[in-house]
């Protein structure tokens, strides 16, 4: 086997998801703009949060909150660069 199962993500992702992600640098998949998530244009909250690129207005991410689950869709972000204090 040359891969681990998804449990290997638990530690690394919990480190990231516990941070204030609004300081993370996102890169827009549509136009390439880089900037902190705090600068996105956010619509909603209902039926879901829709965060758009401040430059091209394309959707960078959506967050839908149901009674028992949340759906985070990072469809329009190439990557998130998340500062982690040493």
């Amino acid at each position: 086997m040359d891969y681990q199962d998804g449990n290997a993500l638990a530690g690394p992702l919990s480190e990231i998801f516990s941070l204030d992600v609004t300081v993370a640098q996102g890169k827009c998949a549509a136009c390439g703009l880089r900037g902190p998530l705090a600068q996105l244009h956010v619509y909603g909250p209902d039926p879901g949060l829709v965060a758009r690129c401040p430059s091209c207005e394309e959707v960078v991410l959506t967050l839908v909150r149901g009674p028992n689950d949340a759906w985070l869709d990072l469809r329009g972000s190439v990557s998130l660069r998340i500062p982690i204090a040493e």
């Binding site: 619509y43 039926p47 879901g48 829709v50 207005e57 949340a70 759906w71 869709d73 469809r75």
Partner: protein, 199 residues
């Protein structure tokens, strides 16, 4: 007498037969938005239906208004739990728009000015169940409510009634739209409370 009449009047009320489960009635018309409101000048507005196999069918604003118009009065059910009864619209039935469209497709993807999309089975657009509307309550449809024209599919949750509609693509495979890929139900029947993916 008091006891008897209390027993008589105290039966549980019949649930409102027009209100789907989990919904409450509103009298205003809430506006929900997932992005900036598109402003589409009428001289550049166009509605089209395209298929995998045939020609694209297009209507300018004048051509669209010249089609036979209907004035449906329908109840609306939003997935955020409000319902609004007896809303009056004016527009063109999808049966009219689809009259000359030949296709074996079973699915439709509605797409809008501004980039919104929503998917539904083609049969849910036909047989008097859906319209492209341009008037609400006797007035031209305001942009916050989807003007100049929006889809109206009142038997499904309102996110299926795409605002600022630009066209409908007929597809041989289902192609989930904006909210359908973001956690909401693929079909969205209010009477079966199909709100979220997996409901």
């Amino acid at each position: 007498m008091g006891i008897i009449s209390r027993a008589f009047h105290g039966r549980p009320r019949e649930p409102d037969a027009k209100l789907p489960p989990g919904q409450y009635l509103v009298h205003d018309f809430p506006v929900l938005s997932a992005g900036p409101t598109p402003r589409v000048p009428l001289d550049r507005w166009e509605f089209s239906i395209d298929t995998a196999e045939g020609p694209v069918h297009r209507w300018s604003w004048e051509e669209f208004l010249a089609l036979p118009q209907e004035t449906p009065t329908v109840d609306l059910h939003c997935v955020t739990k409000w319902s609004k009864f007896g809303t009056g619209w004016k527009g063109v039935s999808l049966d009219v728009l689809m009259e000359d469209v030949e296709s074996a497709a079973e699915y439709a993807l509605a797409y809008s000015y501004g980039g919104y999309t929503t998917n539904l089975p083609l049969e849910d657009l036909l047989d008097g169940k859906a319209w492209v509307v341009h008037e609400f309550d006797g007035e031209e449809l305001e942009p916050p409510h989807g003007g100049p024209a929006r889809l109206l599919v009142p038997h499904l949750y309102l996110w299926k009634s795409a605002k600022w509609i630009k066209g409908i693509r007929l597809l041989n495979e289902d192609w989930p739209g904006f909210w359908e890929t973001a956690g909401y139900h693929n079909y969205g029947d209010p009477w079966r409370e199909q709100r979220y993916d997996g409901d």
